[in-house]
């Protein structure tokens, strides 16, 4: 362990100690004090900083609520107000989102090559705020990544505050391939749980009996202890049904919520994982054939995410490739997270859950959901503005906002400016200005869909093939 990490860890421990024991049980945010010194910054942000407003857009808050033609007002990088007819300070920077949809910035788990080109983990020192991969990630709607378990905010042209939270997860190994490791892990949990029980008893009893000796923490695994004390989350990498079952039972026995990455056969034991309160990080189109020797269900299923979700598992979606693929094969790498989420929808996951799977659920897994993952007052102003439905393969990010600053503008950058450029400066009341080609027609705006749990079956006018065609040449009318 590097010295600075040790310092950070001990600082966090101190912060927790200062907050006292009952606090972390009640604080759903996981305690801002743990977030690596961000608490101080948050406090100062509240009363100063630049005003920033996004107006006229349809706000898909990520919580299921949709506010059409609303304003998001931020100061110092924090969202202050969301609503209609807000008073915007004269000195505020204003971004007109007429005809665009506003979503929370995406959270890409285990993304490689974005926070740091060569890995390593000390992102505060190695983050390159000018790299091409950073711009590509912002263009893909990603505003936060986790790399080596660290939550990193994709700030552009600045490095201050890029680390949102240091390692919150503790990776544990639980595999049928290593039965001894399984029993040892169980023993560690048993020992840590016993110690914590004894410690609580001692705290209670020492009020009357001052001579009672404090129980010894020697031999108690500090990682397991931090998991049981909710200071850290247990992260497993497991695909097999038997391993998943074992993890679910371990979690239920010792009352912690496991994060399970992979969870390929999760759909076969989804109810157990749901009871364990598990988080699953899935790649919806990952494939594995069922072993012909097995009589039970097995192998991968396109319905994995949907079945896990129905059973109460919080599902985060990870791309097939966690790297940025510049080899030309598109649609499978981290730049296509919404397309990956589309595959989960294909398997039956509600669209709202699919959006949560690339925003708020990964934020929870990283322990940063109090700052990131949805558009809510008090959270960081990380927004993406798209020319259509986030989950539609044709929708492109037009603007990206990180911490209340415009950091990506499609029409003014390399890479995507030439693709379906938006019509320049139309009067705001012109209906033609509302939608870009291939997107929802204005008539649809009146329908009170809430980001859509159901998959629209007809999807009128969403797809170009939709229109009746009889070889007519008058099709290119709405070509942008």
């Amino acid at each position: 362990m590097k010295f600075s990490t040790m310092l950070a860890r001990s600082a966090r421990t101190l912060a927790v100690a200062a907050l006292a024991v009952p606090v972390f049980a009640q604080d759903p945010a996981g305690g801002e004090g743990q977030a690596g010194g961000a608490a101080g910054a948050d406090a100062t942000k509240k009363d100063e900083g630049e005003w920033f407003a996004v107006v006229n857009g349809d706000v898909y808050s990520g919580t299921g609520a949709v506010l059409r033609g609303a304003t998001v007002l931020a100061r110092g990088g924090v969202i202050r107000k969301i609503g209609h007819d807000l008073e915007i300070p004269a000195d505020a920077k204003v971004l007109d989102a007429q005809g665009l949809r506003i979503y929370p910035g995406l959270v890409a788990l285990n993304a490689r090559g974005i926070a740091s080109r060569f890995g390593g983990g000390e992102f505060a020192d190695t983050f390159d705020p000018y790299s091409q991969n950073l711009v590509l990630a912002l263009a893909a709607g990603i505003t936060t990544v986790s790399d080596s378990g660290v939550a990193v905010k994709l700030k552009r042209r600045e490095v201050k505050g890029v680390v949102v939270r240091e390692r919150y997860q503790s990776t544990l190994s639980y595999s049928s391939a290593a039965p001894r490791g399984k029993s040892e892990l169980d023993a560690k949990f048993e020992a840590a749980a016993r110690y914590l029980r004894d410690y609580r008893d001692w705290e209670e009893q020492k009020k009357t009996n001052k001579d009672l000796k404090e129980p010894a923490a020697r031999g108690v695994d500090p990682t397991i202890r931090s998991i049981l004390e909710n200071r850290s989350m247990a992260r497993f990498n497991a695909a097999n049904r038997s391993d998943l079952l074992g993890i679910a039972r371990l979690a239920q026995k010792y009352k912690f919520r496991p994060i399970i990455e992979g969870a390929l056969e999760g759909w076969t034991v989804a109810d157990e994982l749901g009871r364990a309160g598990a988080y699953a990080v899935v790649v919806p189109r990952a494939r594995r054939d069922k072993s012909e020797e097995l009589l039970r269900d097995g192998g991968s299923s396109i319905e994995n995410a949907a079945i896990l979700h129905r059973s109460g598992v919080q599902v985060a979606i990870q791309a097939t490739s966690t790297f940025i693929d510049l080899g030309g094969i598109a649609g499978r790498d981290v730049l296509h997270l919404p397309i990956e989420a589309g595959f989960a929808v294909r398997g039956g996951l509600p669209e709202q859950a699919a959006i949560e799977g690339i925003t708020i659920v990964p934020a929870r897994i990283l322990g940063v959901e109090h700052r990131i993952g949805s558009i809510e007052v008090g959270k960081d102003c990380d927004l993406i503005l798209l020319d259509g439905d986030l989950l539609h393969y044709q929708a492109l990010v037009q603007y990206t906002v990180v911490d209340g600053k415009l950091v990506y503008e499609k029409d003014k950058e390399l890479y995507y400016a030439h693709i379906r450029p938006r019509p320049a400066a139309q009067p705001t009341d012109a209906p033609e200005a509302r939608r870009d080609k291939g997107e929802e027609k204005p008539a649809d705006d009146d329908t009170p869909t809430e980001g859509g749990d159901e998959k629209p079956e007809g999807k009128p006018a969403e797809t170009p093939e939709d229109k009746p065609k009889d070889g007519a040449a008058d099709e290119a009318v709405d070509e942008g």
């Binding site: 091409q132 494939r287 080899g327 094969i329 030439h418």
Partner: protein, 452 residues
């Protein structure tokens, strides 16, 4: 002799007894009776299913039929599709046609219908041993012998609507051998095969150089031209013999495929990519030798020769690299747009090419993700205002492979290869609900385990 026959009889008997034992051992485990619809083509005495050959007619009702007929109707709303004896009889708006007596009606409600998709670059049609690098060119090798019909990869491909593929050898040498055009969901080779040879696989660059260190494009062009020249001479000798103008040539199995090629009964599918290589595909194979050829892969800067391809009638089937990416630097690989992300199929299209389709190169991209190739291209600029994405999966590859008389559109007289799905075929969110191949229902989510 007598002993031999006795021995054989005994062995046969033994085998039969063993088989009977195996049957008995398995019998109690069969908890559910086999689904007659699924095994209709396996059990001889089962009645043929509606729509299949010999069965009653099938009337499918869908909210939208993507007919994608070349120079014809692209979409029929509220459509009625009549299927009989494995062929499509009629596609019409429901108001314009009635269901004939005796037809089994299947109302698919809000679902859509489209022709089965065609992948002209597939390596997952059987056992994977399809890259024998014996000589610099191996035109006599055939993947036919390695086909496993209805294999697990095909099973998944069917579940995303892929019903026809060109199963071809690998690209380890300049010519890996002969591919075969197959249907994906039929039980045996004889029923699956559409055309054999489906194509002669030529690989022009970007793999064959592994044959030797330091091998470059010049070396490869030399060997390819050499192969085609030998083939042309061989085919010409046979042509002369058939016309009664020459002696009977010596049979050479290595060059037999060129008789097919030079009489236009089959074609060349070319693994070709990067501008100067695509140029050689067009100039050498098409212009110099006059062979029916199309561009496969066609990636990186290959589109710079799209105008030439169009002029000489060379279609482009693009994938699995769909985006010419913003990348610069030394080395032979590089796009033509160091500062832009552009759809490769879109660039061919922008240069006036109409015959632009998509392939997967499965297993490089799983066979079932064929539809995603168009989605990504549309995302990055491929124009889709006239159903070009769906056409690139259906009628374009059908015409490219010369099998459009049988497949590629929902048109009376064609094979009833029909995909029933929940919406836009390019959208990953769309789910495929039912697939018919030649009128046989080979996949139905109401009946089968959901595969994709």
């Amino acid at each position: 002799m007598q002993i031999d026959r006795t021995l054989r009889a005994a062995l046969t008997l033994g085998a039969l007894t063993l088989a009977a034992h195996a049957q008995n051992a398995l019998a109690p485990r069969t908890l559910t009776p086999p689904d007659p619809a699924r095994s209709a083509y396996l059990v001889d005495d089962a009645p043929p299913a509606p729509g299949a050959v010999g069965g009653p007619g099938l009337a499918l009702m869908v909210s939208k039929a993507l007919t994608v007929i070349w120079n014809g109707t692209q979409v029929v709303d509220n459509a009625l599709i009549l299927v009989r004896d494995g062929r499509i009889e009629l596609v019409a708006p429901r108001g314009d046609a009635g269901v004939p007596a005796g037809y089994v009606v299947r109302d698919c409600g809000a679902l859509w219908a489209m022709p089965g998709m065609i992948d002209l670059h597939c390596h997952v049609g059987g056992s994977m041993d399809i890259n024998d690098m014996v000589y610099v060119t191996n035109p006599e090798l055939r993947v036919q012998a390695s086909v496993i019909p209805d294999n697990p990869n095909f099973q998944r491909a069917i579940a995303s609507g892929v019903t026809s593929v060109l199963y071809i050898p690998g690209s380890g040498t300049n010519s890996g051998g002969q591919g075969v055009l197959l249907k994906t969901g039929l039980p045996n080779y004889e029923e699956s095969v559409i055309r054999d040879p489906g194509s002669l696989k030529v690989a022009q660059w970007g793999n064959p150089e592994r044959w030797g260190f330091g091998v470059g494009k010049t070396w490869e062009n030399f060997h390819l031209r050499d192969m085609f020249q030998q083939g042309r001479a061989y085919a010409a000798k046979w042509k002369a013999f058939e016309d009664g103008k020459g002696p009977k040539p010596e049979h050479d199995p290595r060059l037999d495929v060129f008789r097919e090629l030079f009489s236009h009964r089959t074609q060349v599918s070319t693994h070709t990519q990067v501008a100067q290589v695509v140029m050689m595909t067009i100039l050498m194979i098409r212009k110099e030798f006059g062979i029916d050829v199309y561009i496969d892969h066609g990636e990186w800067g290959g589109y710079l020769y799209a105008e030439l391809a169009k002029e000489l009638g060379v279609p482009g089937i693009i994938g699995p690299r769909n985006v010419d990416v913003a990348r610069t630097g030394p080395g032979p690989w590089g796009g033509a747009n160091p500062e832009k992300m552009t759809a490769i199929a879109g660039e061919y299209q922008a240069r006036g090419m109409e015959m632009v389709g998509f392939n997967t190169d499965s297993p490089v991209i799983p066979q079932e993700e064929l539809f995603l190739q168009s989605a990504v291209n549309v995302r990055y600029g491929f124009k889709n205002d006239d159903a070009q994405a769906v056409r690139g999966h259906t009628i374009v590859p059908a015409k490219t492979a010369g099998i459009d008389k049988r497949v590629g559109s929902l048109e009376p007289g064609k094979d009833a290869d029909i995909v029933i799905l929940s919406g836009d075929p390019s959208d990953p969110r769309t789910s495929v609900e039912m697939v018919f191949i030649e009128g046989r229902k080979v996949y139905d989510t109401a009946r089968d385990v959901r595969r994709f």
